[in-house]
Amino acid sequence: MAFTIKVNGVDRIVDVDGDTPLLWVLRDVLGMTGTKFGCGMALCGACTVQIDGVATRSCITTIDGIGTSEITTIEAIGATTAGAKIQKAWLDQEVVQCGYCQSGQIMSASALLASNPHPNDADIDDAMSGNICRCGTYLRIREAIKQAAQT
């Protein structure tokens, strides 16, 4: 059936089964490929988006449960204050290697910063340990979040 979802401020109508995960609606139906597939079981965080500002794993979030909530993806996170700070810090700290997981990392970090402007190491661990980076950029992610928190 058809669902109307609000993605990055725009209403989008999609005709898929209600149990379709948001991830595939974004990537394959709407063609927004910035959000990544990693595991399909909320184990790696590559698919992280924000729903009403909360970091959410889109691979297990079904389309019928979203309702009128506002979905924000990597394509638009730079328009938020926290997202812009995080993206700049990512560039300044030269966080990225292969880059595949970084959309999800940035979405998790932006949600953390928006809700907690001065996270300590434990806060960062709590917010970021659900996001795997196989290239091992964790040290730089931590530094980048700290930098963003100071700006």
Binding site: G38, M41, E94, V95, G99, G136
Partner: protein
């Protein structure tokens, strides 16, 4: 060294891998680009075996630099970017000598063409791997930049009717200081294309580098932080459908029957493709494809490997090492030395199968038509991908177009073309372009794995406890025997023994044997740090055992064996100093050391590890000292070491693929765990200043960390771990 041997394979016998002896005419030509600018064609040394035999007409360029009318410098390059920073560090080499800003250099993926783009350090295969990229292009890319600059200067001097020596290049322009004239490269490119190629060019001295050695910003980062980078999995050719697949859970098994009625009823499912050993569901989107896949009822014929378990494989390897193998190194007289030894130390080691688990799951998009085939993929061996697609589709090579993409993590997995073959097999049954995406479970359960190895190792010590005899024999798969058959000779290949032979240590009597034993049905492949991922663990753990047997400090013991290897000794001493080696640590915390010389890079690591009463291991801090010769981009070197250490700790703590009833038991990141943010140690990287040619940086950090961690566990608990991954149960306090 593995690389020298692979280089000689590509070069043919009797040829030096040095670029110095090559005539300029044969390694570089200049001409007019199709766009009207200056085109430099380079022949990287020994890209194919015929380079020297070829006459001027037979010049075989394998890299291209275009200077366009708008001043952009465009490099067509046979290497792919998968996070290692190549797409920044290679442009740095050109920009340095060409005197342009790094941001003026743009890269294009080379199309598949092994003849043009073969990697001299990978036996002529058009591949990215083995930490070879910078080593292969270090000199030719700088030469090309210098030649282009010289020709641009000559073009300007001719236009102004002045002596070229009175002109100089700077920031993308040629300047004539006496008259204050200047001309941009873009304006000069067409004229420069008609200038004579200089016979010789002087390269900058390291002291004059303005870019090499600086932490230049990576060129690929901006698109990776805003979601616009297009990885292979992100391509969307018009009309594309999405497929996912189930392959025989037992390697070598076949589909017996499929009931696809329920799958076909899923909204969005278009088609079920049945192959001999796999079933694919083609749908409008991956959500429907996965739902369809779950609804399939597939019966399998498991085939000959239905009862295979890891234990069977281990037993075969263990048994094999009771017999002698191919001799990889024999120095001095091992029997005599062993007989004269005061103390003898013996141990057996083993390392498990490992999956790559790159974050971008395996995927490949194809459009197979009767008259041609198009492939979109991120792959480290793009010419092989093209050949495999052509063969599978039954098409001539020139009817297959391959688009290469940025790779969401390689680690060796994308040196294989199994995924391309599978996608073409599926695509042959589909009218539209189809993107085949592996689920994480399929990605892990149908990987090609770092091989299992079993090692027997022994040493004889003199009255002072120093090693006088070193005897090492091991069994496992040879990846090169499959991947590059000419590299496997007399029972040996240069990768499998890398890190086990020609050690940095002074060992007067040394004997190393290898037995090739292929696990039945299980595909093996390169994995970050390849041969050394196994050998450095064994060698550096055993060296630690010898120090313990001699009741000596592990760092001092190694130092005493490194008198003739000043670069190795220097990194060891630097790491020890920076780590505070010898300083007191709390109960349950230990420091462990490792040192290695592989991939042309000297590297020492000291890990500080905490073991709790319940056996849980936490790596708290890692100090790494590295001498990788001249550093092109120090920030990339740091990033690669940081990442490689995380990769190695993941393997040490969690990495293990096991088989039961012919099936891989691990499925996803819950059963094949990755190190996470809350487990990541502090990592300090100290780079030794050096004027030596660059060494490889993508891999060395991974092999070195594993024994540093297990040696630290020994220091903390007195327990020696000879089997990976680390078993917490073994470390529980009584």
């Amino acid at each position: 060294m593995i690389l020298d041997r692979l280089t000689s394979l590509a070069a043919g016998p009797g040829r030096s891998p040095s670029a110095n002896g090559l005539s300029r005419r044969r390694v570089l030509q200049a001409g007019v680009a199709a766009s009207g600018g200056l085109l430099l064609s380079l022949s990287l040394p020994f890209a194919n075996g015929d380079t020297e035999a070829a006459d001027a007409e037979g010049f075989s360029p394998n890299a291209f630099i275009r200077i366009e009318g708008d001043g952009r410098v465009i490099l067509t390059m046979p290497y792919v970017e998968m996070g290692q920073g190549t797409y920044t560090s290679i442009p740095m080499l050109i920009a340095e000598e060409l005197e342009v800003d790094l941001t003026q250099v743009r890269l294009e993926h080379a199309p598949p063409n092994e003849k043009l783009y073969g990697n001299p350090l990978l036996g002529g295969v058009q591949g990215t791997g083995g930490s070879t990229a910078i080593r292969a292009v270090w000199k030719p890319m700088r030469q090309a930049g210098a030649i282009a600059r010289t020709m641009l200067v000559a073009a300007a001097a001719k236009r102004w009717n002045v002596d070229p020596a009175s002109c100089h290049a700077q920031n993308g322009e040629v300047l004539h200081a006496p008259t204050g004239r200047s001309a941009k490269y873009g304006d000069l490119a067409a004229d420069a294309a008609r200038m004579t190629v200089p016979e010789t060019v002087a390269l900058k001295q390291p002291k004059d580098f303005r870019l090499i050695g600086t932490p230049a910003k990576r060129l690929d980062t901006p698109a990776k932080v805003n979601g616009t980078t297009v990885f292979g999995i992100d391509v969307r050719p018009p009309g594309v459908t999405i497929a996912t697949l189930a392959q025989s859970p037992v390697f070598g098994g076949r589909v017996k029957s499929v009931d696809d009625a329920a799958a076909k009823a899923v909204k969005g499912v278009r088609q079920i493709v049945r192959l001999d050993d796999a079933v694919a569901v083609v749908a409008d989107h991956m959500g429907a494809a996965r739902k369809g896949l779950a609804a399939l009822a597939i019966e399998w014929n498991d085939g000959p490997h239905a009862t295979l378990g890891t234990d069977n494989i281990l037993r075969e390897l263990e048994k094999a090492t009771l017999n002698s193998g191919a001799v990889a190194q024999n120095t001095g007289d091992i029997d005599k030395a062993m007989a004269s030894a005061v103390t003898k130390v013996e141990a057996n080691y083993q390392v498990p199968f490992l999956a790559h688990a790159a974050m971008e799951p395996m995927n490949c998009t194809v459009h197979v038509r009767k008259d041609g085939c198009e492939v979109w993929v991120g792959n480290q061996v793009i010419a092989r991908a093209q050949a495999a697609a052509a063969k599978t589709a039954g098409l001539p090579l020139d009817k297959v177009v391959v688009h290469n993409h940025l790779i969401g993590g390689g680690f060796g997995r994308r040196l294989e073309i199994d995924g391309v073959i599978r996608a073409v097999q599926i695509g042959q049954h589909v009218d539209s372009p189809v993107k085949v995406v592996w689920t994480r479970e399929e990605d892990i359960q149908h990987d090609m794995y770092r091989p299992y190895f079993f090692d027997r190792i022994s040493a004889g010590l003199d009255e002072k406890g120093m090693p006088v005899a070193w005897n090492h024999r091991f069994a496992g798969s040879s990846i090169l025997a499959r991947w590059l058959p000419p590299a496997f000779n007399n029972g040996l290949d240069p990768d499998t023994t890398d890190g086990a032979i020609n050690l940095t240590y002074a060992l007067p009597n040394m004997h190393v044997e290898y037995l090739r034993v292929e696990p039945p049905g299980i595909p093996t492949a390169f994995w970050r740090s390849v041969g050394p991922s196994h050998n450095v663990f064994v060698v550096e753990s055993f060296m630690d055992e010898l120090a313990a047997a001699a009741k000596q400090d592990p760092v001092k013991y190694r130092q005493a064996l490194l008198d003739k290897m000043p670069r190795a000794k220097a990194v060891l001493e630097l790491a020890a100093e920076k780590a505070g080696w010898g300083e007191k640590l709390p109960q349950g915390v230990g420091r462990g050391v490792s040192i290695q010389f592989v991939f042309g890079t000297y590297l020492a690591q000291i890990a500080e590890v905490e073991v709790s009463k319940d056996g849980a291991v936490r790596v708290r801090r890692v100090v790494c000292a590295v001498d990788c010769g001249i550093v092109v981009n120090p920030d990339t070197v740091r990033a690669q070491i940081q990442g490689a250490i995380i990769f190695g700790i993941t393997a040490a703590l969690y990495g293990e693929i096991t088989l039961k009833d012919g099936r891989v038991e691990q499925t996803n990141f819950d059963t094949y765990q990755m190190l996470r943010m809350n487990e990541a140690p502090v990592i300090e990287v100290h780079i030794v200043q050096s004027g030596e040619p660059p060494g490889g940086m993508g891999e060395p950090g991974t092999s070195a960390i594993v024994p540093a961690v297990t040696n630290a566990i020994f220091a903390a608990t007195g327990k020696r771990l000879r089997k990976l991954p680390i078993d917490s149960a073994e470390l529980k306090s009584a």
